[in-house]
């Protein structure tokens, strides 16, 4: 609207140019002072954000430096976290953060995609709005509520039904991933709650992207004799691919940083175990658990260093994901 307005003003200036004796050039220079101020202001805003990120980065790195210097590379690999004897290693927390996030995405992505495809392609119009709204509502539930629900509902169900089912009925106990005692609080429980939490992000983005696929794309596939499923599979999903991956990245970002619900369900134990039934730890939980009562300087510094590692891991994961999107976006968009 403002663009139209300024265009109209320019035209008016041009037409009045001959009568008031001022040249067209003068008028444009005059209005461009405002333009330049506007550009300067929004550039300032835009620069603020990366600057803020840089400051956070530097500040967290400086605060964590004493710990990083003391423990060196071992800080990333050591499994010893002993505040009493001042030995700190974040290995299990780094491992737990990545494992829970990946498993959460493995569970959530197909579900979310199913929801999105159903809502955009199959659902009758009266169903689309309310079901979509309810799925989106999942994103509005505070994470402490997820945590409480997890403790009182999910954990007992996991312990008494899901875990025995996975281990014995499906016979997955033969693999190292589903063995050991079933406490309930575990990497698996944390991953499941994360999956539920990231689901609305992935499904909301995917739904919008699928709805944005042009009608002609669908009609072309149908005209070639494709069934509805073939049309979705060969014409719609490939077209929406990069957008869907964008939604998954959004979910991943949420999963990496999620604190409260994970803390309540993961068992908070500094161990690296192949079994998903074992308790674990995540970086965000570690900081949330220990920051308030940490008074020793090295302990505080170690927690800051964990925060720094979390920042770096998030950046790396996002960079990889963006690279993936870029790769995919370059590929063919239509049917192969």
């Amino acid at each position: 609207m403002s663009a139209d307005g300024s265009a109209a003003a320019t035209t008016a200036a041009a037409s009045s140019d001959r009568t008031d004796g001022r040249s067209l050039g003068e008028r444009i220079v005059g209005s461009s002072v405002g333009d330049r101020a506007y550009v300067a202001i929004i550039t300032g805003f835009a620069v603020c954000v990366p600057l803020l990120l840089a400051f956070i980065f530097i500040e967290v790195l400086l605060a964590g430096w004493p710990a990083l210097q003391t423990f060196g590379f071992g800080f990333l690999t050591s499994a010893t976290w002993d505040p009493v004897h001042r030995q700190f290693g974040a290995g299990p927390a780094i491992f737990g953060t990545i494992v829970t996030s990946i498993i959460a995405l493995i569970i959530a992505t197909p579900l979310a995609l199913g929801v999105a495809v159903f809502l955009s392609e199959y659902a009758p119009a009266w169903m689309r709005q309310p079901v979509g709204f309810l799925v989106d509502l999942l994103a509005a539930i505070p994470s402490v509520v997820y945590g409480l629900w997890g403790i009182f509902v999910l954990i007992p169900v996991m312990r008494e039904h899901v875990m025995p089912f996975l281990r014995d009925t499906l016979g997955l106990g033969a693999t190292p991933f589903f063995t050991g005692p079933m406490y309930g609080n575990s990497v698996l429980a944390a991953s499941v709650i994360l999956a539920i939490m990231v689901l609305p992000y992935i499904s909301a983005v995917s739904r919008e992207v699928l709805l944005a696929v042009p009608r002609s794309q669908r009609e072309a596939a149908l005209a070639l004799g494709a069934t509805r499923w073939e049309m979705i599979q060969k014409a719609v999903l490939p077209y929406a691919r990069s957008g869907i991956i964008g939604g998954v990245i959004l979910g991943l970002g949420r999963a990496l940083g999620e604190t409260m619900a994970v803390t309540m369900l993961i068992g908070n134990s500094h161990e690296v175990s192949a079994s998903l039934f074992a308790p674990g730890y995540t970086m965000a939980s570690l900081i949330a658990n220990e920051f308030a009562e940490a008074s020793d300087d090295l302990h505080l510094s170690a927690l800051m260093a964990v925060g720094f590692v979390l920042l770096v891991v998030t950046l790396i994961v996002n960079a990889i994901a963006r690279w993936l999107v870029w790769r995919v976006a370059r590929g063919p968009k239509g049917a192969p």
Binding site: P156, Y183, S269, A292
Partner: protein
């Protein structure tokens, strides 16, 4: 949910505390209330564990003396840090400051004033056991070290003759967040078990040999309630308000003591304190015949030389008031009040706080 119950109790305690000191009300409130009606007079920060009783005292004292005190329960670590930086008028901690931490305080010497007592109780979920379990310190230590792994272990069975102990695994639950509750617990285990002291030690966070970590008292209690075969520890006040089943623990005198407000206070009564003490003492495994062994003071931190004379006087008056009138509120909130003679000693000790160059 838990906080809701807690705040109800706080409200009740405020009524109690202001009621019991009603005789002071008429004389003190009229004059000073108008003087300090705007803003906050004193700011404090620190431990979360005593927050309900401090809040109750602060409200009651406001209605009595018209002094506004803002206490932020940010955790003991934060309280100590803010004291060192002199950003608050008083601090609070569940574990005494170390000499190293005290040397970093910018305002000079810091004094520790115990306010109330807390205790840890051992909670468990063994449906077949109907009588309260009896445990000893070394047995609890070995359970938490992962050396006793079954409920029907002979060392538990001999303490509980006739109890129907199952052959199932003991699932150890402990706090994942740094807390004063953990400090009391590990302080006790370090006192009774040389192996615990050597391999784990005492602290608000420790490197736990076994078990799953749950956040907060409510997390530990929730985990234990839902997991048959589990054992955990919570603060006494929390366990009482939520009607949890808890173990009797053998004290230094060899008697099995039920955790209660009285047996917690008894632990402080038995403590031998030299005349010039800073009260930075552990009272776990106390010697008294009725003392519950897993108990501790919680402390207010005060600068000996108050930088601001007006605030210094107000702080001293507040402390004098709660040492004299705070017992009912503390008991109502399930904290162990200080034994009477100790409160008297602490009131006398307030004189050694220097305000504006004079006592």
């Amino acid at each position: 949910m838990i906080h809701a119950t807690r705040s109800l109790v706080v409200a009740a305690a405020i009524v109690l505390a202001s009621g019991c000191s009603g005789e002071m009300k008429g004389s003190a409130s009229d004059g000073s209330k108008s003087a300090s009606s705007s803003g906050v007079d004193l700011t404090g920060a620190g431990a979360t564990f005593p927050n309900p009783v401090y809040t109750a005292w602060i409200h009651a004292y406001d209605s009595v003396a018209g002094v506004k005190i803002n206490y932020q329960s940010i955790g003991s670590g934060g309280g100590i840090r803010q004291m060192q930086e002199q950003t608050v008028d008083f601090g609070a901690t569940d574990g005494p400051m170390t000499p190293d931490e005290m040397s970093k305080a910018k305002g000079g010497p810091i004094m520790h004033f115990p306010t109330v007592l807390g205790a840890d109780v051992i909670i468990y979920n063994v449906p077949s056991v109907t009588q309260p379990l009896k445990l000893t310190g070394p047995v609890i230590a070995d359970v938490y070290l992962g050396k006793i792994t079954k409920w029907n272990d002979t060392r538990i069975a001999t303490l509980n003759a006739g109890a129907n102990l199952p052959a199932s695994d003991i699932i150890v639950v402990r706090r994942s967040d740094g807390s004063g509750t953990t400090f009391i617990f590990t302080d006790y285990l370090s006192t009774v078990s040389p192996e615990w002291e050597k391999t784990v030690g005492r602290g608000k966070d420790v490197k736990w040999p076994v078990g799953i970590g749950a956040k907060g008292n409510e997390g530990v209690a929730g985990q234990v309630k839902q997991t048959p075969g589990s054992i955990g520890y919570t603060e006494l006040a929390y366990a009482r308000q939520n009607k949890l089943q808890y173990a009797h623990v053998r004290n230094a005198a060899g008697r099995f003591i039920e955790p209660s407000i009285a047996s917690t206070s008894a632990a402080a009564a038995a403590a031998k304190l030299p005349p010039d003490t800073d009260y930075r003492v552990s009272i776990v495994n106390a010697v008294g015949p009725d003392a519950y062994p897993i108990a501790s003071f919680t402390w207010l931190l005060v600068y000996q030389n108050q930088p601001d004379a007006v605030k210094g006087r107000k702080l001293k008056e507040f402390m004098r008031w709660f040492y004299a009138n705070g017992e009912k509120a503390a008991t109502a909130l399930d904290y162990g009040p200080l034994p009477g003679n100790l409160s008297q000693r602490l009131i006398a000790r307030l004189d050694s706080i220097q305000v504006g160059g004079t006592k």
